[in-house]
Symmetry: C2
Subunit: 289 residues, 2 copies
Amino acid sequence: MDPYLCSLLAGRHLGPAPEPGERMPGQGIARVVEAPSGGPVRPGNRVVLDCGWTRWLTQPADGLQPLKLPPDIPPQTALGILGMPGLTAWAGLHRMATVKSGEVVAVSSASGTVGAAVIALARAAGCTTVGISSAGKLDYVQNELGAHFVLDRGQPLPEQLKNLKVPRIDVYFDNAGGAVLEAMLSHLALNARVVLCGMMAQYEQIERPPGPNLGPVIGARASLHGLVVYDHFDAMPTFLEQAVPLYQAGRLHCHETVFAGLAQAPEALCNLLGGTSHGRVLVRLEPSF
Amino acid sequence: MDPYLCSLLAGRHLGPAPEPGERMPGQGIARVVEAPSGGPVRPGNRVVLDCGWTRWLTQPADGLQPLKLPPDIPPQTALGILGMPGLTAWAGLHRMATVKSGEVVAVSSASGTVGAAVIALARAAGCTTVGISSAGKLDYVQNELGAHFVLDRGQPLPEQLKNLKVPRIDVYFDNAGGAVLEAMLSHLALNARVVLCGMMAQYEQIERPPGPNLGPVIGARASLHGLVVYDHFDAMPTFLEQAVPLYQAGRLHCHETVFAGLAQAPEALCNLLGGTSHGRVLVRLEPSF
């Protein structure tokens, strides 16, 4: 389950919205039941693909690849911290923001999969990390994900930022939009970089709300960069080369909330968007395969 | 006269606002009356400096430099098209947006000094140019400044953009903020660059108004860059190397509105901000020196 599914339904994502009756899109891990011999996959292989919300799928074998993760790593991480959300964090930090050791990196929706990966990868790059989340998840963000500092997005951010025991923000990874983005733009260091990755605050709104005043961006000589992870799949091997050892060392992880059975999928999406779950939200098909 | 003076008075520029009774800041050309012998300037030299609104000024000679422009170029261009506003355009196009030949470059407040320089420098770089201005200045922007296309900022921009006979915008140089910026962000090409240079729309407002929704920036994988010209004075020689021959060839120019006498300075600033003048607004001291 990914937050973008909601903006997709609203017709505001990159592709067209699915019509009523069409299959909901979404990434999944599938097991190959039948495959032509001599092709890239064999029966029994696990594959990551855009299968959508379904139990069975017929799909051309070309372009499929067996999932290649070390056997000690649970396969569902390929949908999360070692998959597209992890790559999103890596591309934002290293390709768009080009983080440097010693910088201050802040991230909103810090308890989500992308947020967890941003914190872990920024720490690995030698940065000080600031996680922004709702009050009930701050303990998780600080003590499990390892953010050096946390901000409660339910309380006024300008005051919390003023009292923060670190200099201004060098890199802000925005998954939120709205008031959080506005507050963070007023607390940027000179030459700060902002990665615009998601607009959680507006996914469920019909009309696009106004955005932040951009005056402070000029004052800070900052830059804002729109990130779409689809542009960065070529970096997956580079990302995994760094991320798999971090995962195995326990320094890159993410809570998983698993819903059982495809019938729970709508509930799972609502949970994710309502903020009642945290970390990666997954639906496991029942009976499991 | 520069638009930033108004945000400076409102306390929103980089430095503190002048107190009532203090001299208004501003760049000018002065003639040296007295100077220590052996220093960098001699009596009679013209110098560009931050003199503010004054007729006489005592100033350390260190750091002053005689104005060096070819004798066929009027000295006041050093305050305009061949000075800070020209350098602003150059730095935005070449350092922040890294324009490439064949790209579509749009600029707001196109009839102003920065706008005129953006159009000329973008044309010189092989780009197609789009000037945005008020209805009464479109003829000037197209026929005198040489913009390939013009947009009337007083009419709905989304429709005008849709009917524009060029592809989407690769580089947008924003001097306006507000509704113009919002409309332009929805018409960006993939990987577009936006230079945030001024917020004319909000200079006279007490509270910072909301800004544009940034969703389209993500969709376009665009980047926004805050530009402060003070960071780019090192590029002045490089800029002039390109700009002086363009000026001499008649391909870089800008209308001048000249007010006579220091007492006209407040009127000149109001004129600039109210949009009733166009091009460079200057105040000539009377009697001239």
